[in-house]
Symmetry: C2
DNA sequence: TCCATATTGTAGTGCTCACTACAGATGTAG
DNA sequence: CTACATCTGTAGTGAGCACTACAATATGGA
């Protein structure tokens, strides 16, 4: 039996283009016409490859998190909790204002509130943000075990805090904040983590 | 000459209902059908009173910020920059999880990214968020003049920071974070402002 | 009372949306 | 070369969208 006509477009390259459209316009704001044009394909090819608009979003999200995995590893490998926070937040300031991408973070820009037909999208994005928060929590828990964080420090609260600041910076980036402005926010934010560190003088 | 048939619905009460729909579904996710049903009116009445869907959003935003003005005054009247930040962030944790309203903040839930037809909406929301940031900046500048903040403190950066944390907390609230979780974030965040205060021991 | 003016409810308008039927094209297997 | 399986492009599909035409209705002023 024949194996059919082979696909003529690069699936990953198309996903990158779709990612950008979702990033810039959000899930609901992105139309199939915009997506297909950016991807250089026609609607039937899109539906054959990804099943639905939501399926395409999930594939784009997978690619997005996959691309960030290496950077996240580097963040978590910082020696102290304070340095983890600094690498994370400074990196966020840089990435969210990278002119190669739309401003902000896809996991926020994708859609915070949606209509009744897309109610699951915000949950999907939240679940992916929660993964990063979990990684931070585990890393901060280790820091506490290692005596790097005070005994009174709460790793879960610190991870939520760093995650919240990242999200807030993303929203600011998408509404025009430049890299310096975000870096200033990051610098202030790191102080709070520093304050929970046991290495500080006079504690 | 006659003055026409009088309006039979309460404009402010209808705006409150519209506000809730925008808050829960975002600008693009909210449909005219949902809005009119929640407001208890028919489309022609909506368009006669507010001009367009975007006009209705702006009216709802006006009402939203007006309602927060009193609370904001109370926040800004706190004696020190640290207390301003604490009142602000703890208040945000409380308000964004108030079961009387949808979770999060209308100025974020309303729409961070929109389609090409509603591109002005995110800007509109950002401009309103910037107003709060300005109020904080002016208050922190005064705190610096009063010697309440260190000479090295940057009021604009601090205001941006508090604003960013508020926004991040709003996104977390909308994705299910409860009041305690947000209060923990707020408590950590306040430490960073505290660190910029001149009243701290051993500085 | 009768006109002018404004609101209301019904019932649409044209448009755009996500999605797909279909036929032609392009590959593999025998 | 033939049969078959899959992709590709064209051209739509019904559904839902923001918005409105229209006639009925309710007021104030002459």
């Amino acid at each position: 039996m024949g194996m059919g006509r082979p696909r003529t477009f690069d699936c990953d390259a198309a996903l990158d283009q779709a990612m950008e459209v979702f990033w810039r316009h959000g899930y609901e704001g992105a139309t199939i016409a915009q997506l297909t044009e950016a991807m250089g394909i026609n609607p039937p090819s899109l539906y054959a490859a990804f099943g639905s608009k939501e399926g395409l979003l999930k594939a784009a999200l997978d690619r997005y998190t996959e691309r960030r995995a290496a950077w996240m590893e580097e963040v978590l490998s910082a020696p102290t909790a304070r340095d983890v926070a600094e690498r994370m937040l400074m990196g966020v300031a840089e990435k969210q204002t990278d002119p190669a991408n739309p401003p902000g973070c896809l996991l926020v820009q994708g859609g915070i509130a949606c209509g009744t037909g897309s109610a699951s999208v915000p949950f999907e994005l939240a679940a992916r943000r929660a993964q990063t928060e979990e990684q931070l929590r585990d890393r901060f828990a280790r820091a506490k075990d290692e005596g790097d964080l005070k005994l009174s420090a709460d790793p879960a609260a610190l991870a939520r805090y760093v995650s919240a600041v990242s999200v807030g910076m993303g929203v600011m980036a998408s509404s025009g904040a430049d890299r310096d402005a975000l870096a200033q926010v990051a610098a202030v934010a790191v102080k709070a983590v520093e304050e929970q560190s046991s290495g500080r003088p006079e504690t």
